[in-house]
Point group: C2
């Protein structure tokens, strides 16, 4: 399992509308994606128009190759991309330990 962490800055004033659109997109699109495990949305306390997506995938390639080259990704960005203030900063992580 790997974790995608995306830092996503949203147009100021559009946060509530974005959260609704995202909830729908997560529910309808991601479960169709190969290797998708689960999703968590957090909102910034210091920067309230910035969100993190924490998305668990079976493998890195399930996200970077399978999902990004699929029609699902087109649907995903169609439903939420207009809220983005700039391109999301996305990196992938492996869990070393939990305590």
């Amino acid at each position: 399992m790997i974790t995608e962490i995306a830092i996503v800055e949203i147009v100021v004033g559009k946060e509530a509308e974005f959260e609704v659109a995202l909830a729908t997109a997560v529910k309808t699109i991601l479960p169709q994606a190969k290797g998708y495990i689960n999703f968590r949305l957090t909102r910034g306390i210091e920067r309230t128009n910035v969100y993190t997506f924490l998305i668990n995938w079976d493998t890195l390639e399930d996200h970077t190759i399978e999902f990004r080259n699929s029609d699902l990704f087109v649907q995903w960005r169609t439903q939420i991309g207009s809220f983005f203030l700039n391109p999301p900063q996305i990196e992938h992580w492996t869990t070393v330990f939990k305590a």
Copy 2:
């Protein structure tokens, strides 16, 4: 509950030593901190000397006021600070939803 996410860049070549020191620091120091819930360490796939600390706290102030002004914070930075390549980037987040 709030989540602290810290992006921590480590001196290249010191990653294994850092992980050992951090595991000890997490185990011995954090459970003494008021409001501390749990800790997860992830390591970057794209940038292998970069880690995220995902730390859950009862309240923002448990981290930013209570912990940072405590002797525990001095111990924490003493045990792991020498591995940092630069000051960690730290922000706090509230969970909006999980799916």
